[in-house]
């Protein structure tokens, strides 16, 4: 369990985290979402005491993490896969961490096997790909078999197999009753990973709810349809109270009508359809809508 109360962090004149209050519960994979610069990494650093809050508190299982003399049995954290000395082998890196917390040497080989790095354990981390470094970081987080796990952008650099494996791992850890907090700036990564979402923007809490509640924000589903007679289909759909917009390369996006209703309308009017699909990616849009007002770094002109 992670409890943040009025957590605030200011660096000079900028407020990175602004009176954040939230609870991350055990037994769930909680997605921690926000655009770049929203304060996700800062929040995680505050949770494990690397940075000190300017105000408020961050408690892990009822205590500030920084008060604990040794951490690995309480919190496993992957903050940045690059936070490792490239000159050491994966085994030496993990052996030093394990030893500092009085964990048996056998744990090192266990976690190396678990993350699939047993064969390269004797190689220096500096030569690893980003995906392999992520696995080293995940191995370090698992060392102490902790009840709380934090992962900052764990999907970066992982191949599709790696992403699948990490998702399975997170679900399994949550299924064992642990608290699992996973940050990302991409909704698509969270969709199949998290069952609970926390969304922040500019250091403030925007939403804290289950994935299903979040999905309900996405508005009405959209039917994307392709036809040789777009003009006729548009007028027919509008007569039936549908809203029609063009969805690029000649396709139409229809809201207010289900795929079945639209298909029957087209059939009744003798309009040929070449393609029809219901778009279910509303999570991404819900996320974009929600954070639109809280984006720090917007690229160029809106297209």
């Amino acid at each position: 369990m992670i409890e943040l109360h009025d957590l605030t962090k200011r660096y000079g004149g900028t407020t990175a985290v602004n009176r954040l209050t939230l609870t991350v519960r055990p037994g769930h994979v909680t997605g921690f979402l926000g655009p770049n610069g929203a304060g996700k990494s800062t929040t995680l650093r505050l949770v494990i005491g690397l940075h000190r809050p300017s105000g408020g508190t961050a408690l892990v299982n009822g205590r500030p993490f920084a008060e604990r003399p040794r951490g690995l049995r309480h919190v496993g954290a992957l903050l940045d896969a690059g936070d490792v000395h490239g000159g050491r082998t994966a085994r030496a890196h993990l052996a030093a961490l394990a030893r500092s917390n009085g964990l048996p040497r056998s744990r090192v080989d266990e976690v190396l096997g678990e993350v699939g790095l047993a064969d390269v354990a004797g190689r220096r981390i500096g030569g690893f790909s980003l995906g392999m470094k992520q696995r080293v970081g995940i191995a370090a987080a698992l060392l102490g078999d902790p009840p709380v796990l934090l992962f900052d952008e764990p999907f970066n650099g992982l191949d599709p197999e790696g992403v699948r494996w990490v998702r399975g791992l997170f679900r399994r850890l949550a299924g064992e009753g642990r608290t699992v907090l996973v940050s990302s700036h991409l909704m698509s990564e969270m969709e199949q990973t998290a069952d609970h979402l926390v969304v922040i923007g500019r250091g403030k809490l925007i939403a804290e709810e289950s994935l299903t509640e979040f999905a309900a924000r996405g508005g009405r589903p959209q039917v994307v349809v392709r036809t040789p007679e777009p003009a006729r289909l548009t007028s027919v759909a509008r007569e039936a109270d549908g809203q029609v917009t063009t969805a690029g390369d000649g396709a139409l996006a229809v809201t207010g009508l289900t795929a079945a209703e639209l298909g029957e309308l087209a059939f009744a009017h003798g309009i040929a359809l070449h393609e029809m699909a219901t778009r279910a990616t509303s999570l991404e849009e819900a996320f974009m809508d929600l954070t639109a007002d809280h984006v720090d770094y917007l690229a160029g002109d809106q297209r």
Binding site: G49, V84, G87
Partner: protein
């Protein structure tokens, strides 16, 4: 790996959290020190410098001995051949670098965040680093210093000009040279904690140890006092390096031992303070 669902109770937490032992931190720092190639490179530099330069100095005197005047033979100081400045500069550089890298290398790579996530008690981490560094460097220093002394005096014995370690001056020089390694290493560690980037930390350490003494005029009383309070001039004084003859305001031997004691203590305190206070 399957695990029963956990409900964390107080008893459970106690069982899962054995006492935090400082010796585990020592062991972790030991693993870290010996798993970096730079450590071996630096120690190889120490070994080569200690043996080669003292052998060279002793062999030169051995070769030239018949040409020395009787007065020069009488005034000859064999101890200095064990600790020639040009060789020990490399040793100071190597020791300072190991110390600087021990902490700046962690900050520069980001490793320090992994370290502190595992051990939130930052002062204990610094304590373990200081203890392991000082212990290893003292052992290396004793080996390098006695080996250099033994080798050079064995060569000079061929001219019956060698000194015995039982001579007070000889013992003092060997002890000061052995202690010079942990001294330089801890100064490197203190600088590394302040600067937190590897290359600048090594440059600052080298400047402090090797270049700064040259910046102070030893003919002026006040600048000579600052010069004498620097670690390398204190070592020169303790090994009775002939250069000190130029210093009109020569430091006392006890004063030089005090310099030897104060620098590492200050470096350790600085490291503990800045590591505890500044955010990694």
């Amino acid at each position: 790996m399957s695990m029963p669902p956990r409900t964390v109770t107080a008893a459970d937490r106690r069982a899962a959290d054995p006492a935090a032992r400082f010796r585990d931190l020592l062991a972790a720092e030991w693993i870290k020190l010996w798993s970096l190639r730079s450590t071996y490179g630096s120690l190889a530099l120490v070994a080569v410098s200690a043996l080669l330069f003292s052998a060279r100095a002793a062999l030169a005197d051995h070769h030239n001995w018949p040409d020395y005047s009787p007065e020069r033979q009488a005034a000859f100081d064999p101890i200095h051949d064990a600790f020639p400045e040009e060789g020990w500069l490399f040793i100071m550089l190597a020791a300072g670098t190991v110390g600087a890298l021990m902490i700046a290398g962690e900050y520069a790579s980001g490793q320090i965040r992994a370290t502190f996530a595992a051990v939130p008690d930052r002062r204990a981490v610094v304590g373990a680093k200081v203890a392991v560094l000082a212990g290893v460097m003292l052992a290396v220093g004793v080996l390098a210093s006695t080996a250099a002394f033994w080798l050079s005096q064995a060569i000079l014995a061929g001219r019956h000009a060698g000194a015995s370690i039982a001579e007070p001056q000889a013992l003092r020089a060997v002890a000061a040279s052995a202690l010079l390694l942990p001294l330089c290493a801890l100064i490197g560690l203190g600088v590394g904690a302040l600067v937190r980037h590897t290359a600048p930390a090594i440059v600052v350490t080298t400047t402090l140890l090797l270049l700064l003494p040259l910046a102070f005029d030893i003919t002026n009383r006040w600048t000579a006092a600052i010069h004498n309070a620097l670690p390398v001039p204190a070592w020169e004084r303790l090994v009775a390096n002939p250069y000190i003859a130029l210093n009109e305001h020569l430091a006392t031997v006890p004063g030089s031992w005090v310099v030897f004691a104060v620098w590492p203590v200050v470096a350790t305190v600085v490291a503990a303070l800045v590591v505890h206070r500044r955010e990694p």
